[in-house]
């Protein structure tokens, strides 16, 4: 058994990489997979907060790389799901504390014991991003339907192509069907037309995400949250299932929400 390393990256900041990593980790673990979520954003760690595990951190990724602890000691078991672990980033160091080779080595050590290793990339295209992408078998690019975010996603896809990595897959986050319908926001087809890569998920803008990120309880645990459902669907697509996309067109009313959930 060898784990698949999936790096979640975006180029632009604030599009939801960390939220996506946490939720996919939860969704894959809910599906019975053994998962490690690794925070590669050294110096600006967040994944622990979003997963609600901040107060359990003793050792971090930099401690592992610099030999101050064993890998197992830095792995924090999720409080709800026994097959989900977090490897936190260091908050007091910067990206140069870890090299791309270190990332490959750490991931290789984990491969035999897990099904999925999710790496949360920092924003940008510099060292931190290079660290995060180095061990990746698959890459998921997160973008929002905004021109700037799509531009940065396009840049990342170009960089990955130049490096000879497999074509990444796309997650459109914070999508507002109503705005797209009115033409005030890029539609999913506009985004795909520019980026021309495979779409594996559309996550609607959902207040449940803000609440859950602040509480440290990923929305994927919430049966009712629309965004949680979207993340669970993405997890199933990652596992190779053919899941149809949610009907997001009439998400304004409660009734149509129920209808779209039942249709899943």
């Amino acid at each position: 058994m060898s784990a698949t390393v999936i790096t979640i990256t975006s180029g632009k900041g604030g599009v939801g990489k960390t939220t996506t990593t946490a939720n996919l980790g939860v969704a894959l673990a809910l599906a019975g997979k053994r998962v490690v979520a690794m925070d590669a954003d050294i110096g600006l760690r967040n994944l622990d907060v979003v997963m609600g595990l901040e107060n359990r951190i003793v050792y971090d990724l930099v401690d592992v790389v610099e030999g101050r602890c064993r890998l197992r000691q830095a792995m924090i078991r999720d409080k709800r799901l026994s097959e989900l672990y977090l490897i936190p980033a260091a908050q007091t160091r910067d990206k140069t504390a870890v090299s791309p080779d270190d990332m490959v080595r750490v991931c290789d050590q984990l491969r035999s014991d897990f099904d999925y290793i999710l790496v949360d990339s920092p924003a940008g295209i510099e060292r931190g991003y290079q660290n995060a992408v180095a061990p990746a078998d698959r890459i998921a690019i997160v973008t929002t339907p905004e021109v700037a975010a799509v531009r940065d996603a396009d840049r990342i896809i170009g960089l990955l192509e130049a490096e000879g990595k497999d074509t990444p897959q796309l997650i459109i986050n914070r999508f507002k069907p109503d705005m797209a319908r009115r033409g005030d926001m890029l539609g999913t087809s506009d985004v795909i037309e520019i980026l021309a890569i495979e779409l594996i998920g559309i996550v609607p803008e959902d207040e449940a995400i803000i609440i859950s990120t602040n509480k440290g309880v990923p929305a994927a645990l919430d049966e009712k949250a629309l965004a949680g459902q979207a993340f669970r669907n993405i997890a199933r697509r990652i596992m190779g299932e053919d899941v149809p996309f949610m009907n997001l067109r009439d998400s304004s009313g409660l009734f149509s929400r129920l209808v779209s959930l039942i249709k899943q």
Binding site: I125, Q130, V147, R151, D152, D154, R155, I157, G158, L159, E161, A162, E163, I194, A196
Partner: protein
């Protein structure tokens, strides 16, 4: 006096032994300024055989290049003094070290070779944001040119796809160059010494092949019409 050659990874400038250093630098500057917009952004290596250059000489050259938006990447010399000065400045001293870092997309840059000036570069993929094609001859793209991508061509540019990035055709001053695309909606279009940007208002126009050229001192885009003589 000097020769400029294009290589996979940048320009190689070879200096001869006979001429005075300052005279050769002046000749190099003149050549670079001649085709300023074309050379801008390029990486450059110099080959100077056994000539001895001081740290100051190299720094002076770096500053001259930097003013033109170019970067000195390597100094190839058989002189130990020159080599150590170059290493001190973190420059490569060997053509094999003179490589692009793998994460840079500048390997997409097709560097100029004088003999290429009439030839065309064919790019059979989509150019994404941050990717750049630099070619002294014509450029043909089969694929899209996304916003944030750049094509700098000495000749004509043909895009068999959507052109949403920046294109400079006739970049060495040729106003007779044309730009054709199946969907011509660039961020900015330059032909020779002219610059145009599309109208600000977003009109939902019918997408059809168009050709842009300079007409009466302005860049004009017209629908492609095979019945008309272009």
């Amino acid at each position: 006096m000097i020769s400029i050659k294009g290589r996979q990874d940048g320009l190689l400038v070879t200096f001869d032994k006979e001429h005075d250093w300052d005279a050769q630098i002046a000749a190099l500057e003149a050549q670079l300024d001649d085709r300023r917009s074309f050379f801008s952004g390029a990486r450059l290596a110099i080959q100077i055989d056994q000539r001895t250059l001081s740290l100051g000489d190299i720094q002076d050259l770096q500053a001259r290049l930097a003013r033109r938006g170019m970067m000195l990447a390597a100094v190839i010399s058989t002189s130990a003094i020159t080599q150590s000065a170059a290493r001190h400045l973190n420059l490569a001293t060997d053509l094999s070290d003179y490589r692009q870092p793998a994460t840079q997309t500048e390997k997409d840059v097709v560097t100029p070779r004088p003999e290429d000036e009439q030839s065309a570069a064919l790019v059979r993929r989509t150019l994404r944001s941050g990717q750049k094609i630099h070619h002294p001859g014509h450029v043909i793209v089969i694929g899209d040119v996304n916003p944030g991508a750049e094509i700098i061509s000495g000749g004509h540019v043909v895009v068999w796809g959507r052109l949403h990035g920046l294109v400079h055709a006739g970049a060495m001053g040729d106003d007779s160059a044309v730009v054709c695309a199946l969907d011509l909606s660039p961020t900015q279009l330059r032909i020779g010494s002219h610059i145009a940007r599309p109208p600000e208002e977003k009109r939902r126009r019918r997408v059809r092949p168009e050709m842009a050229s300079v007409w009466d001192g302005r860049i004009v885009a017209e629908p492609w019409d095979s019945k008309k003589r272009h």
